[in-house]
């Protein structure tokens, strides 16, 4: 793999990582605010937690790699 391709791939990965952390920050602030004003609303708070976990598992833990072929998973 040439350097240019690796650099492009890295930048793309960094972009996704940044988008996810922004999303997580927004959701966490919303969660904190919701918990302060309506702490008995457990369902929306659980929903936010599931959404946050989904993004971490998909984009940071790269769960799809587990189901990829050996060559694809290396990419």
């Amino acid at each position: 793999m040439d350097e240019k391709m690796m650099e492009d791939r890295k930048q793309e990965a960094f972009r996704i990582g940044t988008a996810v952390i922004i999303l997580l920050a927004v959701l966490t602030i919303g969660e904190y605010w919701l918990g302060s004003i309506a702490s008995v609303w457990w369902a929306p708070l659980l929903g936010i937690a599931i959404l946050k976990a989904f993004f971490v598992v998909r984009d940071y833990m790269h769960l799809p790699r587990l189901f990829a072929s050996e060559e694809e998973a290396q990419e």
């Binding site: 990965a13 952390i21 702490s39 008995v40 937690a49 587990l66 050996e70």
Partner: protein, 192 residues
Amino acid sequence: MTTHTSTLSEYRHKLATNRLGLWLFILSDTFVFGGLYVSRFYLLGTTQRPDVNQLLGFVVTSVLLVSSYFMNRAESAMANGDRKNFLRGTLATLILGIIFLVGVVGVEWQIAPFGPGDGAAASLFYTMTGFHAFHVLTGVIFLSVVYRNGRKGHYSPERHWAVEACAVYWHFVDVVWIFFYPALYLIGLPPV
């Protein structure tokens, strides 16, 4: 060249097996954390929560989430041959992990107006945060090993399973806290 290709192919095959093993470990660990999570709702329901500092909970949660961002950055950097960003990201993750530990064990445990012996719910709070903190500590040790090896020039874009495993483990610890945070700090009201 043939030897190199065949070795790389073997490595990729092993990598697939390693990944499966790591995810099976994570699945088994999830059941333990899941048991603790369910116990919290069994004991306190959705109307009560431990009397803890909500702002501190928000701060430590943010620290852990940002650490995951740096871990992801470090892994992506290594996978694409950028050793400098890999080392920076790993070090940032390590430091943030230590800050999280200090926040929970060093601050929250000290300021909480209850101790582990003050009933089942109080005991469960210390079990949940303690068990999680132990995982964070394990992650910090793992990160130190990866950082040290990375500085010595180990790992390459083709061979960096240890970095990937460390990242997946770290993010798992983050996911656990994503569920523990609302359960311990946000859902329900503290006892009057």
